[in-house]
């Protein structure tokens, strides 16, 4: 039998402790979209080296023979996957399934998931951080960028929520 989720406030304190530890040990916040970017950079670099060296965007990640995978952010997201899995094992929540509203089809859910992921990471690259990298970590150091990004994400999501309500409720 799967266990219930942790109390949200307690979970918040747990997450806050992790963030504080990250600040204390490494002097930086948490991040997720950055790690995804490094994976893409590494994959593109492996497939087409000359393309990455010419591109104004990729090239900066290959300067002086740097290895994109050997990076704080990529190792952090490997940890996120491991940590999520451990938690799933502890609370017996590990199983394959598609989570969606019963009113929509699997294909539709997966299509929206793909589009959503594409948009989210695209926006995160533009804003130099996602909900964790910019909003959460940014707020914890009182950075203006953190607050603005947080308000932009949640504010616009509330507006868009009306258009996509059929997908969820």
């Amino acid at each position: 039998m799967k266990k219930k989720y942790m109390n949200p406030y307690l979970a918040g304190i747990l997450l806050g402790t992790v963030l504080l530890l990250s600040m204390y040990i490494s002097g930086r916040g948490l991040g997720a979209s950055g790690g995804i970017k490094y994976c893409v950079v590494a994959i593109t670099g492996a497939i087409d080296r000359s393309h990455t060296e010419d591109s104004p965007y990729y090239s900066k990640y290959f300067e002086n023979g740097e290895k994109p995978f050997r990076n704080w952010l990529s190792f952090e997201i490997f940890g996120v996957i491991a940590g999520g899995f451990i938690s799933g094992v502890v609370s017996k929540r590990n199983r394959f399934r598609i989570e969606k509203s019963p009113r929509i089809t699997n294909t539709k859910r997966l299509f929206y998931a793909f589009t959503g992921g594409l948009l989210f990471v695209y926006g995160a690259q533009l804003a130099r951080g996602c909900t964790s990298g910019a909003a959460l970590s940014g707020m914890a150091v009182l950075s203006v960028a953190g607050f603005v990004t947080m308000i932009a994400i949640f504010g616009s999501a509330y507006i868009f929520a009306w258009f996509f309500r059929k997908n969820w409720i």
């Binding site: 109390n7 406030y9 307690l10 918040g12 304190i13 490494s26 002097g27 930086r28 916040g29 991040g31 997720a32 979209s33 950055g34 970017k37 704080w72 952010l73 995160a124 130099r128 951080g129 996602c130 990298g133 910019a134 970590s137």
Partner: protein, 201 residues
């Protein structure tokens, strides 16, 4: 749970609001320890020692020139970085000193700014801060204007004067360049403060 967490955060917030907490950064080490440290003669580098380091191209040292920018452009010790004293104090000097393996030698025109800065760095816990005794005035007097006046020169003196001569040649080479070129040369060696890692970049 909501009430407990709210109460805890509220109390902490109150504490933060009442006490002038952040931006607050005081000296870390114990006062008596600081006195002992800064009165220890080994925090001093004589100009001859500095000249030797320059001539040998020692990469484990970094010279910081605390004079105003315009004076630095006119003439500066080769390889030094210009951080005017006001800026050095207002900014966080950690960015210049956080590599503890590199010795940072501070100098100004005279002995005042460099020694304030020395205590400032040591107080903030940087054991790698040193000072060039006498500042640039002493440098000019000893290195640039050094002439051997004795009758017989010993091997040791010979080595000393050789280093002085070479250091002053390096110094003159850079400072004899036309203004525009010299500015380029000096700003090229301007130290870029280590950028902090972070964010999703």
């Amino acid at each position: 749970m909501r009430k407990k967490v709210s109460l805890f955060l509220f109390l902490c917030g109150l504490l933060l609001a009442i006490l002038p907490l952040t931006g607050h950064r005081s000296f870390k080490i114990r006062p008596d320890n600081l006195v002992n440290q800064v009165l220890d003669p080994q925090v001093n580098y004589s100009v001859d020692e500095v000249a030797k380091l320059i001539v040998n191209g020692d990469s484990a040292i970094r010279l910081i020139d605390l004079r105003p920018r315009n004076e630095f452009i006119k003439a500066g010790i080769p390889g030094s970085i210009n951080v005017p004293y006001e800026q050095f104090i207002s900014e966080d000097p950690d960015i210049y000193l956080n590599d503890s393996k590199i010795k940072v030698i501070l100098y100004g025109n005279d002995d005042f700014n460099s020694n304030y800065a020395l205590v400032y760095c040591r107080g903030l816990g940087h054991d790698n801060a040193f000072v060039m005794d006498g500042g640039l005035n002493e440098w000019t007097r000893t290195i640039m204007e050094s002439r051997f006046t004795g009758s017989r020169i010993s091997a040791r003196e010979n080595a000393l004067f050789e280093i002085r001569a070479r250091a002053s040649r390096i110094f003159n080479e850079i400072n004899a360049l036309p203004d525009s070129l010299r500015a380029v040369r000096l700003t090229a060696s301007r130290f870029s403060a280590r950028k902090l890692d972070g964010g999703c970049e």
